[in-house]
């Protein structure tokens, strides 16, 4: 039935930089080694001394390692407070890791030059991430002017027009203000702004969670097309497993600041190993199988300030054994994936 509804394909102008795409297959663009981010959330020093309280440390991201392949999509999934946004901020350099390292590798960039990738971020809320007092053309032109990527105003204007067409808007939209656009169109503007820097690594923090489903489909399709045409690499942060399945090559499930399972997306979705992954897949509301027997997950995410000893998932895990309450499992390889569970 769906083919009847397929809308008339609106073919969009392809930018000239296209098709250096995914030929460079397996090489690594980002290497994260044992990165941690800790926040000191103690009470002020004096009151802490008076009441003999110890320092309180929130481990937002705790000893996380992964690498992202050039031209692929690596997704990080988790519930609120699991540290996925902190990780994203670390990757774009808005947050300094307390320990460990994040390394961008040199490579051929989208515009043909050689060096570390140019990193940009796409934010969740398209209503808050665009300056309401600037015209769309100026919003997109700012990075071009700032980085002096075009020699003069005319070629900047030309580039802005090209970018607008690339993301499915019209050249004349440059003279309008953000309020004139819907949520989906604003997210297109955010993408155009990110691409204006000739970026080849986009960190997308919940890029579609503020959008309606039909508009979400438009944006996801646009992102997939841009990735093919421009050879972009995505670090995709989301809590929506269906969206993640649609977008990802590799993925990591995060719980209380740590990866509990990571590997190729297909392998994880086809055979989830960690009980948390299984429960997540079990509990998402599903249009296709609404009547299946569900085990709603009991309990809630514990506070990252005082995580439970042993495996941090043990209080909610139906399989938890004595060992899980004492000894913290490390990520260990299992077939294609890596799982941190004593019982997997």
């Amino acid at each position: 039935m769906h083919d009847i509804l397929t809308p008339p394909a609106r073919e969009l102008a392809m930018p000239k930089t296209a098709t250096i795409a995914a030929e460079a297959a397996a090489d690594v663009i980002l290497d994260v080694a044992a990165a941690s981010c800790r926040f000191d959330v103690s009470a002020p020093t004096l009151s802490r001394l008076f009441s003999h309280e110890p320092r309180r440390i929130l481990r937002a991201v705790d000893n996380v390692s992964f690498s992202v392949r050039r031209g692929s999509t690596f997704s990080i999934v988790g519930e609120s407070g699991c540290g996925k946004s902190t990780l994203a901020r670390m990757v774009v350099g808005l947050q300094r890791p307390s320990a460990g390292s994040l390394d961008f590798r040199d490579g051929r960039r989208a515009d043909g030059s050689f060096g570390p990738p140019r990193v940009q971020m796409i934010f969740q809320d398209p209503y808050a991430s665009l300056n309401p007092r600037w015209r769309v053309g100026d919003i997109i032109a700012e990075p071009i002017r700032e980085l002096k990527l075009r020699p003069d105003a005319a070629s900047t204007r030309q580039r802005v027009g090209d970018l607008l067409e690339t993301v499915g808007l019209s050249r004349t939209d440059a003279s309008r203000y953000p309020h004139a656009f819907s949520g989906g169109q604003r997210q297109r503007i955010s993408i155009a702004r990110a691409l204006a820097t000739e970026a080849d690594f986009l960190v997308c923090d919940e890029p579609t969670s503020a959008l309606d489903v039909s508009v979400q489909a438009q944006i996801l399709n646009l992102m997939v097309r841009l990735q093919k045409e421009l050879g972009l690499t995505y670090l995709f942060i989301s809590h929506n497993l269906s969206v993640v399945r649609h977008m990802s090559d590799d993925l990591a499930i995060m719980y209380l600041g740590r990866f509990v399972e990571t590997g190729p997306a297909e392998a994880i979705f086809n055979a989830p190993r960690h009980p948390y992954t299984r429960l997540l897949l079990d509990t998402i509301p599903d249009v296709e199988r609404p009547d299946r027997e569900r085990r709603p997950m009991s309990g809630e995410v514990p506070s990252p300030i005082s995580p439970p000893p042993g495996c941090s998932f043990n209080p909610r895990c139906t399989l938890a054994a004595d060992r899980c309450r004492v000894e913290r499992p490390e990520l260990r390889p299992l077939d294609d994936v890596a799982v941190s569970c004593h019982l997997a």
């Binding site: 039935m1 009847i4 809308p7 519930e79 039909s214 399709n221 609404p290």
Partner: protein, 328 residues
């Protein structure tokens, strides 16, 4: 499904108009539906489709410049859309409960949850404070709050999001209303908590015979929770029917497009079906079928004639509905 003799809630030709500087804007145009006792009716649609507005009108919380310009709302046969404010205030909470999206803004931050429950109970029921407190405790236990005896004296900020939403549900249940309007009750929650709340709503509906009008944009939540679903687009119901039928055999091209644009967790597709364009603004709803500019099946007839919604169990407001053959 049979058109049962006495629906709990009956909405007929509801029209809501916002009077603006540039003339009136019709936000809701000829919306009709029934909710049977003990039934969960899902209202689904994209932002701005009018689903929350419908709920707001039913509980009588429509703020100016919005006003009901036509149609009627009946609760157990009695008209409630034209009640004076004072009568409506007493009915609200007593016979119609409400659950909103953000549990933190629905609760008073300076009162303990016990105080809020007791106040609500004593407002609506002829009981003293001590008895009301007992009932409050029972309610907290019923919605699944652990250690209710101590939690009753805690403030909203001491609860997590999921627990807060349970408190809000307990508040809505205080006076044993026959109808609960739940407006995006799970949207602000994590998936694992979402499932707990929908399971709770279903259980309450079963055990108390309460009807629920569940307003959400999440087709998955509807598919798992509701008995029937009404799909809204640009202030109109475009399709209504048993949830199974609407999800599996959608008849309106908009519903079908909406279903197709949801990515699947079970398989990966190269391309998602998308509906191009966006829902029209209130001031610019096209004549004829409101969906015609985005519809792949639209013909000249659709641009001039507005399709009606037949009073059938599964009906679509479309001149050329899908799967007519399958139904014949």
């Amino acid at each position: 499904m049979t058109a049962s003799a006495a629906p709990l809630l009956s909405v007929r030709d509801l029209r809501i108009v916002f009077d603006g500087r540039r003339g009136p804007l019709t936000a809701l145009d000829g919306v009709s539906f029934d909710i049977q006792p003990g039934e969960i009716l899902g209202m689904v649609g994209e932002s701005g489709a009018g689903k929350s507005l419908t709920g707001t009108a039913v509980i009588g919380l429509l703020d100016p410049p919005g006003r009901i310009a036509g149609g009627e709302i009946r609760l157990e046969g009695q008209r409630i859309d034209n009640l004076p404010a004072e009568k409506m205030r007493r009915l609200r909470g007593r016979r119609i409960g409400a659950i909103f999206q953000d549990p933190l803004t629905s609760l008073h931050p300076l009162l303990t949850v016990g105080d809020q429950l007791v106040e609500t109970i004593t407002t609506h029921l002829p009981v003293g404070r001590a008895e009301a407190r007992g009932r409050a405790l029972d309610l907290l236990r019923e919605v699944g709050i652990p250690a209710a005896e101590t939690r009753i004296d805690h403030y909203p900020h001491q609860f997590s999001g999921g627990m807060r939403q349970r408190v809000v549900i307990a508040l809505a249940l205080c006076a044993e209303p026959t109808l609960i309007i739940a407006d995006e009750p799970t949207t602000a929650l994590d998936v694992s908590i979402q499932a707990q709340i929908t399971t709770l709503l279903k259980r309450l509906c079963r055990e108390h015979g309460t009807s629920i009008m569940l307003v959400t944009h999440d087709m998955g939540v509807i598919a798992e929770t509701a008995d029937r679903v009404a799909v809204m687009y640009a202030g109109r119901i475009v399709e209504i029917g048993p949830v199974e039928d609407v999800v599996r055999r959608p008849r309106h091209p908009y519903t079908a497009g909406l279903m197709a644009s949801i990515p699947s967790v079970h398989a990966r597709h190269a391309h998602l079906n998308q509906i191009d364009g966006a829902m029209p603004r209130l001031g610019a709803i096209p004549p004829g079928c409101a969906f015609n500019p985005r519809c792949g099946r639209a013909e000249a007839f659709c641009r001039d004639h507005r399709p009606g919604l037949a009073p059938a169990a599964h009906a679509a407001a479309c001149h050329f509905p899908l799967q007519e053959l399958a139904d014949a």
